[in-house]
């Protein structure tokens, strides 16, 4: 039986969808069978981040309403064996699905997959309630900014109120240079403020923008971000992996710059 994980944040634009795509890719590369479910009905995005936008025939609402079999709505990833997408409907709204319908859908997916990962919409309304209804555990994504961390705190409270006990934190878009100059909170600062356990730190990298341009997630490649996502996947599977030493991974120019700063 598969495990159901919701990726959520409260605030929009902190990288939920990119994180979901990369976790899916990473877990599939670790030989797990994974389905990513885009629960953001009306604002479909996970398909483009994965580069699968041209293959959609049926969607989540079709599967829930019985217009097709669940298996017919699943899209197989182009590059990664074992990775599937259940896309959101683009022309419906959040009320098209109820929390109970989500539970039924997820129970069916549990039989065939190791991990069912739900990409949650921003906000705390119906879409959020649908996404968390069937989840066993949650990953809360935040950036080291006051507004994102505040929203994350609210989400953590709501997850606990809904009896989701396994809640872990992903600090996304950590700008190492800014942290060094004291102009961005560290991942430890965020953990201290939110008092929940960390599961991943993903540094800011322009490569992420390029990867969404082309629809190719980075997890598992040799970039720092690709490694950070892969480490996150190992931790999701319950393995202990040391956190990357982001500060020492300086580029040539940063090292030269360092000589002059002394």
């Amino acid at each position: 039986m598969g495990e159901v994980i919701v990726v959520t944040s409260g605030k929009g634009g902190v990288g939920k969808t990119t994180t979901t795509a990369n976790i899916g890719t990473g877990l599939a590369k670790l030989n797990k069978k994974v389905v990513l479910v885009d629960t953001d009905i009306g604002l479909r995005n996970l398909d483009v981040v994965l580069g699968l936008e041209n293959r959609i025939v049926y969607n989540l609402v079709d599967a829930v309403e019985g217009n097709c079999k669940v298996s017919q709505a699943l899209i197989k990833d182009k590059k990664c064996d074992g990775l599937y997408l259940l896309p959101a409907a683009q022309t419906r709204d959040k009320d098209a699905v109820t929390p109970d319908q989500m539970k039924v859908l997820v129970e069916e997916l549990r039989k065939d997959f190791d991990y069912i990962i739900l990409d949650c919409p921003a906000g705390i309304e119906q879409g959020f309630k649908n996404a968390i209804a069937a989840a066993d555990r949650a990953l809360v994504v935040t950036t080291p900014e006051v507004s994102a961390v505040r929203d994350a705190d609210r989400i953590i409270g709501l997850l606990e109120a809904n009896d989701i006990k396994n809640v872990r934190l992903i600090v996304n878009r950590l700008n190492v240079e800014m942290v060094k100059h004291g102009n961005m909170m560290t991942a430890q600062d965020v953990v201290e403020v939110l008092s929940i356990d960390l599961i991943g730190v993903v540094p800011y990298d322009e490569k992420i923008v390029i990867s969404t341009n082309t629809g190719t997630p980075l997890a598992g490649d040799d970039s720092i971000v690709g490694q950070a996502y892969m480490n996150l996947c190992h931790r999701i599977m319950g393995e202990e992996v040391e956190y990357l030493d982001l500060e020492s991974k300086k580029g040539f120019f940063a090292k030269i710059g360092g000589l002059f700063n002394k």
Binding site: P144, E145, V146, V149, R150, D153, R154, G157, V179, H181, G182, N183, M184, M185, T186, D189, E192, V193, S195
Partner: protein, 92 residues
């Protein structure tokens, strides 16, 4: 605080962290200013039976204190009240 810290300007990340801590205290207490005002009035009503209190100097707020049952330094919300007494009512 060390003496030298008095002359050191806080970095923007420290400012962010401090602001967050403050904002989360009131978010987590889930206590709107209106509810606080009602709590304050009710406490005053009860105390009036026994004491004459200084309503101007009254200070009631929700803060965070260290959880005494937990050694990991976690904090829990607590109601803090500072109520100056003008005089004890006789025979109350």
């Amino acid at each position: 605080m060390r003496f030298i810290d008095l002359f050191r300007k806080k970095s923007s990340s420290e400012v962010a962290k401090d602001r967050l801590k403050m904002v989360l205290i009131s978010d987590r207490s889930a206590c709107s200013p209106e509810v606080m005002e009602r709590i304050k009035n009710d406490i005053v009503e009860v105390l009036k039976k026994y004491l004459e209190i200084d309503q101007e100097g009254l200070d009631i707020k929700i803060t965070q204190i260290e959880d005494e049952t937990d050694n990991e330094g976690k904090t829990v919300p607590a109601l803090y009240a500072n109520i100056p007494i003008k005089s004890m009512r006789q025979g109350g």
